[in-house]
Every structure is written in structure tokens, then in C-alpha cells.
Amino acid sequence: MATDRIAERRRIFKQYKDDVESRGKPFYPFAMFHDTVMSLVVVVVITGLAIVWKYSTPGDHIGTDPGWLGKLYDDPADPGTFNFVPRPDWYFYFLFYLLRIFKWPDTVLLGTIGLPTVLLVLLIAVPFIDVRPERRLLRRPVAIVASILVVVSMGVLTYKGATAKESLGSELVAKVPDWAKTQGFSGNQQALGGAKLFAESGCLNCHTYLGLGGGFAGAPDLSAEGAKNKGIDFQIRHLENPAGVNPGSPMPSFQGLGTANLKKLATFLESSKGGK
């Protein structure tokens, strides 16, 4: 059986080689012409994108105002910053969106590492899974279904990732009085300061809090973090080095905020008992 198949595909390939030799056309100029036209199109498109990128920005086309294709550059990186949006380039949006679907810690590994690895292995395995010589598309139903599924799911995930809304720090800060009322820490200046930092520092890009926020990277809901009574010291240690406290945590270190701010944040977290 197997030897038959091997003999058969060798025969087909030999026939292909013979056919090309006797009836093919030379690469130059025939295929080369198509290739050259296509390559020119590529260069023109790339140049066009570069031009649109720059000249669709408002004013004198410098600075951080976005044009049709986005900003020329953002504000300078600031590790001690407040307010960031952890957004990758578009071809990683599908992965980025996967992170919103999976929950820490049970399935987040599946989403971030498991699925991409499985996809990569499957992709490499394609020629070994599909060993029939048949190449006509209509006689390869599995291949048709598989490619439709892949294209649709990648498309949907990319679209979802692209349109996922990040809350702006300024909008969230307006919520601080509400939070204080619900959680009952209105009198606590430290906690109030922490709540403001919490709104401004991008925590809600990942976490959810009283119904707001991202749900990204499987980050837990923090509305009742204080109910766990882990203590201020624990919270500070975790904020300084999340992965050191909870191994494998994808949460970035917030050491850059400084000890005083971390203390406020920790107080806020410990005051969040989930409301009435």
C-alpha cells in the first residue's frame, strides 16, 4: 500500500518534470514579466502607504496627532507612567484578543502559548497529514473547510482585537466618587488617592472593577480584592513584582510608581470589599 503510494507520487512528479521540460515555457521572459509587474505594485503600495501615513496627519505633519494611518509616533516611553494601552501591531490582534477570552490562571496558558504552539505544529504538519496527490480544490473538502475556518476565525479575532475598547484614564477618574460610595472608603484619603491611581495607571486595561474594564490577559476582577484580606504588604510586594509573588503572572511591574503611590494603591485595593 504505502510503497504503491510512493511509487505513484514518484511517477506523477517524473511526468511533471518531463512535461515541463518538453512543453513548459522559459521563466524569462514569461513568468519574470508577471513577477516584475507584481513587485513594482508592491513597491508602489508601500511608498503610497508611507506618504499617506505622513500627509494625512493634521497641521504641519509632525508631532503625535494621528492621521488616517495612526500616529507618526506616540509620547516617549515612561516606565513610571500612568495610562497606557498595551496594544500590539495589527497582525498580533488575534492573539491579543485570545487573551480576553481566556481566564487566569486555568486557561490563560492555553490561550497564549497552547493555541499558538498547536497552530504552529499543525501548520508544519500539513504536508504530512494530507498525503494524497490530489490537488484539485473541489476534491479536497477537508482542506476547503479548514481554510474557511482559519480565515474566518482569524478575521473575527483580528476585528475584535482591533475594535476592543480601552477605557481612557480621564473617563475612569470620574468614577472614583462612585467607587468610594459603593465600597465605603469615601473618608479614606489614602484609598481615594489609590483609586485615582488605579483609574489612571491602566490597571483597567486588564482588570475589571465594579463592572468596568478590560478583562484582558485573564486578569481577575478586583471589586472584592480586599475581601481576601491579603494585607497591604502583600499588595505592595505583588505590585512591585507580580511574577515574583504569583509565578508566571503576565501583569507588569509597577515599581516605577514609587513606594508612596504603591502604598495608596494597596490601601485602595484592601478597602475594596466588593460593596454592599
Binding site: S22, P26, A31, D35, K54, I113, D130, A143, M251
Partner: protein
């Protein structure tokens, strides 16, 4: 026998051919190029099959614009952002080179996916081209790696924070994850060395690997030949050509077919 004086035309021919012959005698390169150009391909290869060379073109654009950017870019947290601003705002056509590199990256990735899609739909990964498919998958992964490492280089807010989270996610991988994260960062935290490390990976390590893999890829394409479209009637996919001689000469019929752009 008295040697005849060469005519003007013959003299010119000799002057042109001499260096070509010189090179051929010492390297065989001329023969190789001739083989590459005049090798036979199936008669009905079509536009879908230009996606591979289009990808190659996009890679070359990246290599050229990247080299120019490297002349002005400074991979150090204190000056990276300023050097990007300098390139974008001050240097003559700097914005164009940077824009082409930035958007060329997206075009490169899209073309890679489209080329892969064409190979998949044509069933062109089948015997004996399995190895070339695997090389292709490695190219795809390397291409995405270029995207990931290049994204940090402007050292602005988007770049910085996307990379922090990206590295942390790498770090969650079982077994290798923490090592990978450490390797990328050059330490336990993202720090000053992280940027130069990403830069080295982005402009030396991965491009070197991609160039070598493309070399292998094209070697296999030339050695095995490109497939004819799956709908073609014959193995070589010439199909019935009006008036073409069956002995391999691409006569006028072949040319007119070509002009009609089929």
C-alpha cells in the same frame, strides 16, 4: 592565413563578452544565472504564483530601508525616541524611509499569508515540496518575530507597554517561557539592555536567518520547479496551446498567449 580585421560590431561584441567570459571561466556564475532565467516553468503558471516573489520584494524593501534607518537610529533608551523624531522630522526623506519600513512590514506579513494561502489552495505543499512548506512556516514565524522586536524600537508609550505585556506573556510559557522572557529582556525586568537586545535581534539575528531561509526556499523552488495550477489538464499544465510546437519551442503562439496576459 592572414587574420581578417574585425568589424566594428564584432569588436564591440568582444568587448562586452570578454568580462562575461572571464567571470564564467572563473566562477560558473553566468551559467547559473542563465539556468535560472531560462529554466522551464509550466505553461500556465499564473498571477497567483507571483505572490512569492512579491514577498521577496517586500523583504528587500525592508532590508534596504532598515539599513538606512540603522544609520540614524540609536538603540539606547535615552536617545532612541529622539533619534526616531529626528529621522521623521529632520532628515531629508527620513519620514519616507521610516514610513516605508513601517508599512512595508505590514505588507510583508500580508503577502506572506497570501502566498501561504495560494500554496495551500494549490496543494503545492505536497510531495516532493513538503520541506519547502516547512521552510515557509519557519519564514512566517521569523517574520512575525521581526514584527514583535521591531515594535519596541521607537521607544514610545505604545511600543514600550505592548512589549512589556508581550514579554510577560512569553514568560508564562511552560518550561522555556521564563528563559525566553529573560533572554529577550536581558535580565529579569525590562531595562536599558532590553532595547539594544531587541535591536540586535531585529536587525541581525532574525534578518540573517530569514535571508538564509529564503536562499534555501528558492533553491528548492528552482530544483523542484513550481507546480502548475491544480485545474490544469497535464502534469506540467501547459494546456492546449493554439499552434504551439510540442517540442518545447515557445513559438509565436506562446508569445501571443503571453501578451493576452493569460
Amino acid at each position: 592565413m592572414a587574420t581578417r580585421r574585425l568589424t566594428r560590431k564584432e569588436q564591440m561584441q568582444q568587448a562586452i563578452l570578454y568580462p562575461v567570459d572571464w567571470l564564467e571561466e572563473r566562477s560558473g556564475l553566468v551559467g547559473a544565472v542563465k539556468y535560472f532565467l531560462f529554466r522551464k516553468v509550466p505553461g500556465d503558471t499564473n498571477w497567483f504564483q507571483t505572490l512569492g516573489s512579491a514577498t521577496l520584494t517586500a523583504f528587500i524593501v525592508q532590508a534596504l530601508t532598515g539599513t538606512i534607518l540603522a544609520m540614524y537610529y540609536k538603540p539606547d533608551p535615552n536617545s532612541a525616541y529622539d533619534s526616531i523624531q529626528h529621522i521623521t522630522n529632520d532628515i531629508w526623506a527620513g519620514w519616507l524611509v521610516r514610513g516605508m519600513h513601517r508599512w512595508g512590514a505590514s505588507v510583508f506579513i500580508i503577502l506572506m499569508f497570501m502566498h501561504m494561502g495560494r500554496v495551500f489552495l494549490f496543494g503545492a505543499y505536497k510531495y516532493p515540496r513538503e520541506l519547502n512548506w516547512i521552510i515557509g512556516v519557519l519564514l512566517l514565524a521569523s517574520g512575525l518575530g521581526e514584527g514583535f522586536t521591531g515594535y519596541l524600537l521607537p521607544w514610545d508609550q505604545t511600543a514600550y507597554w505592548a512589549t512589556v505585556v508581550g514579554i510577560n506573556i512569553n514568560g508564562t510559557a511552560p518550561f522555556l517561557g521564563p528563559f525566553l522572557a529573560q533572554f529577550l529582556q536581558g535580565g529579569t525586568y525590562i531595562n536599558a539592555d532590553t532595547l539594544s537586545r531587541f535591536y540586535a535581534i531585529h536587525m541581525l539575528m532574525i534578518p540573517g536567518a530569514i535571508a538564509a531561509l529564503i536562499g534555501l526556499h528558492l533553491y528548492l523552488v528552482i530544483r523542484l520547479g513550481v507546480t502548475s495550477p491544480p485545474w490544469s489538464k497535464e502534469a506540467a499544465g501547459t494546456g492546449p496551446l493554439d499552434g504551439e510546437t510540442p517540442n518545447g519551442k515557445v513559438g509565436r503562439a506562446g508569445l501571443s498567449r503571453f501578451r493576452r496576459g493569460r
